[in-house]
Amino acid sequence: MNTKNTGGSGDVKETLRHFVTRSINFPDLGDDDDLFESGLVNSLFAIQLMTFIEKTFGVEVDADDLDIKNFRSIDAAADFVLKKNLAATTS
């Protein structure tokens, strides 16, 4: 698993935004818009997003992290990444 981006909140959010808009190309998407209620994502998007987060930010998503609140929006996913990175650095 690569760790390419462990930067601050802005960097993480920007990286996530780039991935999401590359996947669904919806430039008007807000950072707090619900990705799964938008109707724009395909059925594989949830696991593609999770895989992207793991590879890009070097965090491991385990079964305990399976909570839609962690991946619902760009904001939520950025918060999740920062929390996981914080947990990793303090453990």
């Binding site: 724009l40 994502v41 059925s43 696991i47 593609q48 793991e54 590879k55 079964a63």
Partner: protein, 393 residues
Amino acid sequence: MARPVPHWLDDAQQARYAQFKEFVSANVEPFAEDWEREQTLSKASLSQLAASGWLGATLPVEYGGKGWDVVTFGLLNEAFGKGSPSLTSVLTVQAMHAMALARWGTREQKSKWLPRLASGELIAAFALTEPGAGSALHTLTTSYSRPAGSDSLRLNGVKRWITCAQIADVFLVFGKLDGQPIACIVPRDSPGLSVEPIRELMGFRAAGLGTITFRDVEVPPAHVVGKPGFGFSHVAPVGLHYGRISTACHALGMLRGCVEESVSYAARRKIGEQTVGEFGMIRTLIARMATDLQAATLLCLNACRSEDEHAADAFEDAFVAKYFASRAAVSAASDAVQIKGAAGVHASSPTSRYYCSSKITEIIEGTTQIHEDQLGRMILGRSGPPPKPKGGA
């Protein structure tokens, strides 16, 4: 003969691929016709496969697996795919079950089940499809319930077209608990579980397909994989992803077999003073299938490498590889039979086996049409929503 695999495979991958092909040539291809005719794999074949350790090809070493990369797993499936569709299907579903468990299982689940799956002590199956539901997962009706006062779940429902159901020791069973998608490990010897064989398939005849009925099967809470609510969105996709990679490479193996059989026959068989290969229309068929073989090889290895790189695009790459390779195998098998004529239609001819089984690779792990729908959605999704209408009439 078919061209060698790409030069960028490393020495270990090349050496293992040679080992797989040698094993298949000696232990699989000579018996494949018998297995298909008898509609069962021999115990010896399963024992040999288990002893090889290849059922745990991609499982971590700490759980008894080989810890190989996915490219090597793809080469394994390609080599077996040329030899026997039915034995390859054991590799496919073992990986589907085991890799979903390796990804989402608890430490206890992994310690308990994975070493036994890696060693082949247990044969696994992936119980997803139902009589009335396949790719539309939300329509599955298999249900888990939690009786009052019990920690355990109760499983009821019917699964159909389950590969290896006849021989599997353990199933990963998908259903819903209070409307939430869930996946659980269910051993075959669970009271209330019964398997009815499905026979007389056109291909994959020894793959042990079956219908599984669950009547009030008790499932301990320790057998839930992942979390309720994520069975379809996270657990199933991991298994199906490995299933697609395996099936794509399986089809690739059949495609290679078609090219090798066709070239060998066309160069040897004479019609009057000319070999079959001297006829332009035969060279056209061989050119098409050999070109497809190269394209499919690159797509399959690209899908494997994407998964090795843990790329988010790996899922799409596996869709593309399976979509292309399975259709190319069907086309090549038809042409290979055509080239060999009467010699190609008898069950003793590998081309007959490729013809009957290649079509099934267009159906399992999502039909060609489902792949077109999904890929079309992925590609169109990137173009964004339709433009908003401008104001005014």
